[in-house]
């Protein structure tokens, strides 16, 4: 599964807060000549410290770079949205830099032409994702980096965002935090396919979809173990009859012809794509689920793991 760096589509009602209201032309570095990521980030932070007061610049830079080290924040080709949560800010603070030459954000990746630095209060879970969500439209347009980098002045850049009609959602939706890049199995797949995917993708649960992409069940590695070691075998204290994994042998013999249904579970947690993200936490808690499947109608559109949830909502 991919690291969550792709832009999200906002699914919830808009709050009415325009993204452009989070910064002014004075917080835009237009046509920067800097090509080094760390230097540029320091420049933007110094600008924000001067304009807005964000506390110690070194501490802010350390926080931004720490997040950057965890995973590069390139959300679309040519666009990076570095971010950090700081105790010194009490609302979202945004600084922007454009470059026609491009900035090397991640070795091996194409240079970035538009950098949108977002600083969120430390006690605002999901604020960054909310901001990112409002940028979904421009991030989805491959022309955006060149278009913005080509604007002549900071005022033009600000106007671009102002006219874009980008508003922060009132609250995060499941769709905002879900992973769209998921591994699925077709319902016609075999047990062999499932085991291959468990091993290849280092997963323990796999959603199963039909030809229309509708979620029909979830196969789990735990169920596979249960099939191999049913209750009546587990009753025995003496494991000598199964020391060499004898019960697994039959499964391996027939894995290419065994229905996927054999290890399919029909009890899993789902949420609607439009549901508030907190609904995800509710479902995970209620059903003790490690993963929630996000549906639009019956169609599976994404997954949210507990780790994803913690990272996106509490750490991003």
């Amino acid at each position: 599964m991919s690291e969550r760096t792709s832009p999200q589509t906002a699914g919830a009602a808009e709050s009415g807060i325009d993204f452009a209201s989070l910064f002014g032309p004075d917080e835009v570095l237009c046509h920067t000549g800097t090509t080094d990521r760390d230097t540029l980030l320091r420049e933007i932070l110094q600008l924000l410290a001067y304009q807005r007061g964000i506390g110690n610049v070194d501490e802010a830079l350390a926080a931004v770079l720490e997040r950057e080290r965890a995973a590069a924040t390139i959300v679309a080709p040519g666009i990076a949205v570095p971010h950090a949560r700081l105790g010194a800010v009490d609302r979202l603070v945004v600084g922007i830099a454009t470059s026609t030459r491009g900035i090397v954000f991640k070795p091996g990746s194409a240079p970035v032409k538009l950098v949108i630095l977002v600083l969120a209060p430390r006690d605002a879970p999901g604020a960054y994702v909310q901001a990112l969500s409002s940028l979904a439209k421009i991030c989805g347009d491959p022309q955006t980096p060149d278009k913005v980098a080509g604007l002549e002045s900071a005022q033009d850049v600000h106007r671009f965002f102002e006219r874009g009609g980008m508003a922060l959602p009132d609250h995060l939706c499941a769709a905002d935090i879900m992973d769209r890049d998921m591994v699925t199995l077709q319902e016609t797949a075999t047990l062999q396919d499932a085991i291959d995917r468990f091993v290849r993708h280092d997963l323990i649960d796999l959603p199963v979809v039909d030809a229309d992409g509708d979620l029909v069940g979830v196969v789990s590695a735990y169920e596979l173990l249960r099939v191999c070691l049913p209750d009546y075998i587990l009753w025995m204290e003496d494991l000598s009859p199964i020391l060499n994994f004898e019960p697994f042998a039959e499964v391996l013999r027939n894995e290419s012809s065994t229905w996927l249904a054999e290890i399919m579970s029909y009890e899993y947690a789902t949420v609607s794509a439009q549901a508030p993200a907190v609904e995800v936490a509710k479902e995970m808690t209620k059903q003790r689920a490690r993963e929630v499947y996000v549906l639009r109608g019956k169609r599976l559109v994404g997954t949210i793991t507990l780790q994803d949830f913690l990272r996106v909502v509490l750490r991003e």
Partner: protein
């Protein structure tokens, strides 16, 4: 009624508490008006309180039984001596020994081997599976006990139904009903059996000669009813089995199980129990001493052999919650006997129905069956034993003990709360599938099977009295 969905909410607790206290107070008042002594009135009211507690507060039944005993002792309706004497420690210890032995047999793979025999059957069909489930459930109940039987049979049914992706409820229900019927076949089958056996002075062989054949006959009748009732589900199972066989797939993994030691222990225990009467005569010990001691002796030997697991067997395999409840219940029922309440009930029983065993037999069968349908059959039998004892002593005919046994075991099928096996099995179903059976869904087939088998037992008793001069 047991709260299958967990703990009851406080909104549901208050009306139930009112019903329980009101019911108990009304019985106390009625007893007082009927001229009962203070001790008789108190013991009747507290017994009804405990019975209602099992219906209204399943999870609190033991706590309420403790408080009930304390109230009886505190009001001098019960003395410490009679409490110890009537708590039937012999039966409790017999059950402890059986539970430990069953725990060891489970770990040695006996039940794994039995289930694998069914799963590995070639040419299995829906009807064959149903017949196997019915007879295996009954036989296991006869050899170990009804709760153990249903725990293992439920695992088999869940395995087969999960593999074939069919609804397990019909087959679980078939197994539960066969287990309840089978539990009447021997003294080991049901706490009711050992309780009646101990009180009536019946031996294991008496049960084999009298109860077992009637149980088998009733089981065959029940099988016919159940196969007809669930004909569609059995047909679906056949189709799924055929499809799976066509793909070359089995019903579950099969492994080599070293079962012989466990089988030898089971056969040895049953042989020792079966010969208890002979051994008691030879050793000159009191009647049923060996019967009670045999499971304890075998459990002791097994605990020395597997000493590293001995504490586990005692702490985990023994259902202390149930056994303590039984002790309290027996003590309260004993109080009814000591204070003369049961003698009064027996007198009114014969006053109403006369002293003809031919009339009293169906009356006891159906009264017990209906009573056991709504109150755990051990609870009902514990209260009814002294009444039947008085009748048997007066009429000199022990047929009535068999009427009590069959009424209690077969009546347990009528409702989903009729026996411990029902409650255990439904608990397993709920835990695994998060589903419950509706009271009426069970009642429809349960009442049919319960009443038909009770009628069959009545007919068999009449026939046996005529043919063998019981």
């Amino acid at each position: 009624m047991p709260e299958g969905d967990g703990r009851p909410g406080s909104a549901r607790l208050i009306p139930r508490a009112v019903v329980m206290i009101l019911g108990s107070a009304l019985v106390g008042l009625a007893a007082h008006e009927a001229g009962f002594t203070r001790a008789q009135t108190l013991s009747s009211a507290i017994f009804i309180l405990i019975v209602l507690a099992t219906l209204c507060f399943w999870h609190f039944r033991l706590a309420i039984a403790f408080i009930g005993i304390a109230a009886l002792l505190g009001t001098k309706a019960l003395t410490l001596e009679s409490f110890i004497a009537s708590s039937e420690l012999d039966i409790i210890l017999f059950l402890v020994g059986m539970m430990v032995t069953v725990g060891v047999l489970k770990e040695l793979g006996l039940f794994t081997w039995i289930i694998q025999m069914v799963i590995g059957m070639r040419r299995m069909t829906g009807p064959v599976f149903t017949v196997t489930v019915v007879f295996l459930s009954a036989l296991l109940a006869c050899m170990v006990d009804e709760v153990t039987s249903i725990v293992f049979m439920a695992a088999l049914i869940f395995q087969v139904c999960d593999t074939l992706k069919i609804r397990p409820m019909p087959f679980l229900l078939i197994s539960i009903m066969a287990t309840n019927i089978g539990s009447s076949g021997t003294m080991l089958g049901n706490p009711v059996g050992i309780l009646i056996g101990a009180k009536a002075g019946l031996t294991f062989i008496d049960f084999l000669e009298s109860a077992f054949p009637i149980m088998v006959g009733s089981l065959c009748i029940a099988l016919g009813v159940l196969v007809w009732w669930y004909r569609k589900e059995i047909k679906v199972l056949s189709e799924r089995l055929e499809a799976r066989r066509g793909m070359g797939l089995g019903l579950g993994p099969l492994v080599e199980v070293p079962y012989r030691r466990a089988l030898a222990i089971l056969v040895g225990m049953i042989a020792l129990i079966a010969s208890h009467h002979f051994l008691e005569d030879r050793l000159g010990v009191a009647k049923n001493t060996i019967l009670i001691v045999a499971p304890l002796f075998i459990a002791g030997v097994l605990m020395i052999w597997r000493h590293e697991r001995a504490r586990h067997y005692i702490e985990t395999e023994v259902e202390w919650w149930t056994l303590l409840f039984f002790m309290m219940l027996f003590a309260v029922a004993g109080t009814l006997e000591h204070t003369g309440v049961t003698a009064e009930v027996a007198a009114s029983f014969t006053g109403f129905f006369g002293k003809d065993v031919g009339v009293l037999t169906p009356v006891i069968i159906f009264t017990t069956a209906v009573g056991s349908a709504f109150v755990d059959n051990v609870v009902f039998v514990a209260a009814f034993i002294p009444v039947v004892q008085n009748l048997v002593n007066e009429l000199g005919d022990r047929t009535l003990w068999w009427a009590l046994l069959f009424g209690a075991c077969f009546g347990g099928n009528i409702t989903m709360i009729g026996s411990t096996a029902n409650i255990v099995a439904l608990g397993m179903l709920e835990k695994r599938y998060r589903t419950q059976i509706h009271f009426v869904e069970w009642l429809k087939v349960g009442a049919l099977v319960g009443l038909v088998t009770s009628a069959a037992a009545w007919a068999a008793i009449v026939l046996a009295r005529w043919l063998f001069s019981w």
